[in-house]
Amino acid sequence: MSLMQNIKEGRSRPSFLSPVLARVFGQATPGAGSPAILLLLITPGLVIVAAFFLIPMALVAMRVADGPDGWATYFVILTNGRYFASLVQTLVMSAGVTFCALVLCGICGLFLVRNRFAGRNMITALLTLPLSFPGTVVGFMVIMLAGRQGAIGSMTNALFDEKLVFAYNISGLFIGYLYFSIPRVILAVMASAQKLDPQLEEAARSLGAPTWRVVKDVILPGLMPGLISSGAICFATAMGAFGTAFTLATDIDVLPMVIYTEFTRNANVAVAASLSIALGAMTWAFLASVRYFAGNSGDVAARGGA
């Protein structure tokens, strides 16, 4: 009986490929499909990942060496002052946004889970609305809020006779990333808060713990996995986000903007590739280490469109 026939009939009959496939997938169990079937099942995914991810990434990595400094181009992010400054700025801003989002959403998320009041579901729905706004739309929202015709400008104009406009620089970008992060972190905090065991708090209180101690010893540790995972995603997203900066202005020097400029304006493919690889490697390494040190919480697939 041929392999094709095996697949067609869904049988687990041994074939010449069986030993190889068994090595890859382990021994066939009566309940599951045969190794040949499993191989068939993963083929489309395998082809997509290989052809459109592995090969292109390898080619990009090779292109870096064509740069002006040869192999040294790989380290241009560390050696070139301008790129390094941009990296530091991107890191600092991402960390800042993450911190703010965690604090604000930690308080509000817990509040929304713990209290029942009219309009609660409405507020939750509104807070999670921007969940998959693309970066450009978020940028436009920042312009609406803090741009020349923005809400904040009009308000300060009416109150102090001076228009407060900060959409088009790094503060605007900060606001944009915060806007983007709030839905994600709120959802994660609310999910963790729902899983908190109320008996743990009752136990702490029965042992005499005042409110602040209950928060410190029971509630925060309970929320921690959710905070870490959503924080990690928030940070990684801020590191790579491009659309918001693109909409606000082209002279904000965050790393994705620098890469874009190098590639399109300066046609400096090797440097753009080097910076891309550095950014990608750092983001991946960060998420992977969070996942490693904090269990399975750095799940990147929880991240929405950047």
């Binding site: 065991d197 008996q199 743990l200 009752e202 702490a204 029965s206 042992l207 005499g208 005042p210 540790p221």
Partner: protein, 358 residues
């Protein structure tokens, strides 16, 4: 260290308007173990949570510990030790840290704290687990840690909310014995909530049987077992067999048979039931198998289960519902055969029959 607890005129209505508890009084003397027994939804946990300070009684209710009014005092001020069904151990702390937590909160110094924790762990036979994480413990070990944590702070009262429900049957019996020993040794006032009649009998100095937000009966295990004051209590403590009868001039008629010398006090009023329809509640020992000549009734065996020390028969055709009868384990009886039974009249509890809908 034995605290007397008094609950006076306590009732509980939840925010959504449901009445969890009708007003009741309950006195627990110092050092006594009181078991709150009842099916789920009867209000037993609410009483426990009121004593703990996790729920407050409706206006008018009053709770005192040794005469101190604690009615509006929150749980963290009451110095109660609590053991939860789900253990509620802090997952971010080790075993020793869990036990030390209450001491730390109370500001006990490090040296004394360590000494007390060690003593507690030794007492509960878990000293070798001190540095373990909570998720590395078995259910029984967790329950020991929860007990150690609750008593480490030397609480005025120990409150246990179905602490053994999550464990398997064998372990439950073993831990029950241990808890019993511990409560006697400490001499602490304890309130124990369970829905398990056997557990209640084994642990309680007194048992409070609860039914639908009301106290159905308070008594020693013997009183509850032998003299249930209502069909509900009788049924709940294991007298699951029921027959209908009639009293005529102080004599009990069941079907065609007539029995003298029946203990027919109306438990609610104390008077003798002389006339009228009655309900009879009894355990498997209320009937026994016999020869055809001695039989009061003849039924049909529906099912047979071999329980080792006895053979348990489910017999139909005697009352309106099948009854359970035990017989010698070596008897050979199979389902579908007729069986002759004699009534042991002194084992019957007689209640005046009530209309179905009351």
């Amino acid at each position: 260290m034995t605290t007397q607890i008094k609950l006076h005129d306590c009732a509980k209505t939840f925010a959504d308007g449901t009445r969890a508890l009708a007003p009741f009084d309950l006195e627990i003397t110092g050092g006594e173990t009181v078991v709150l027994l009842g099916p789920s939804g009867c209000g037993k946990t609410t009483i426990l949570r009121m004593i703990a300070g996790l729920e407050f009684p409706d206006a008018g209710g009053k709770i005192t510990f040794d005469g101190d009014d604690v009615t509006r005092q929150s749980i963290e001020k009451r110095r109660v030790g609590m053991v939860f069904q789900s253990y509620a151990l802090f997952p971010n702390m080790s075993v020793a840290q869990n036990v030390a937590y209450g001491l730390k909160v109370h500001g006990v110094g490090r040296d004394e704290r360590d000494a007390r924790v060690t003593a507690m762990l030794e007492m509960m036979h878990i000293d070798m687990l001190a540095d373990r994480a909570i998720d590395q413990l078995s259910g029984g070990q967790r329950q020991r840690v929860a007990l150690a944590r609750a008593i480490a702070v030397q609480p005025r009262v120990l409150l246990l909310d179905e602490p053994l429900t999550a464990l398997d049957a064998k372990l439950r019996v073993r831990l029950r014995t241990e808890i019993n020993g511990l409560l006697r040794k400490l001499g602490i006032t304890a309130v124990y909530v369970t829905h398990d009649q056997e557990e209640a009998m084994a642990l309680g100095d007194r048992i409070v049987v609860m039914q639908k937000g009301k106290i159905a009966q308070i008594g020693t295990p013997r009183e509850i077992y032998r003299k249930p004051q209502s069909p509900f209590v009788a049924d709940f403590v294991g007298a699951a067999n029921r027959l209908d009868g009639q009293m005529h001039d102080g004599r009990l008629h069941i079907g065609e048979r007539v029995f003298d010398a029946v203990d027919a006090f109306d438990p609610r009023h104390g008077d003798i039931i002389d006339q009228g329809p009655v309900e009879l509640y009894f355990r498997a020992d209320g009937l026994s198998t016999c020869e055809a000549g001695d039989a009061d009734f003849t039924g049909r065996v529906e099912a047979v289960s071999y329980l080792g020390e006895r053979l348990r028969l489910t017999v139909s055709g005697i009352g309106s519902m099948p009854v359970i009868v035990d017989t010698h384990p070596d008897d050979v009886i199979s389902a579908g055969t007729p069986v002759h039974c004699r009534v042991n009249a002194d084992r019957l509890t007689v209640f005046p029959a009530v209309a179905v809908n009351s």
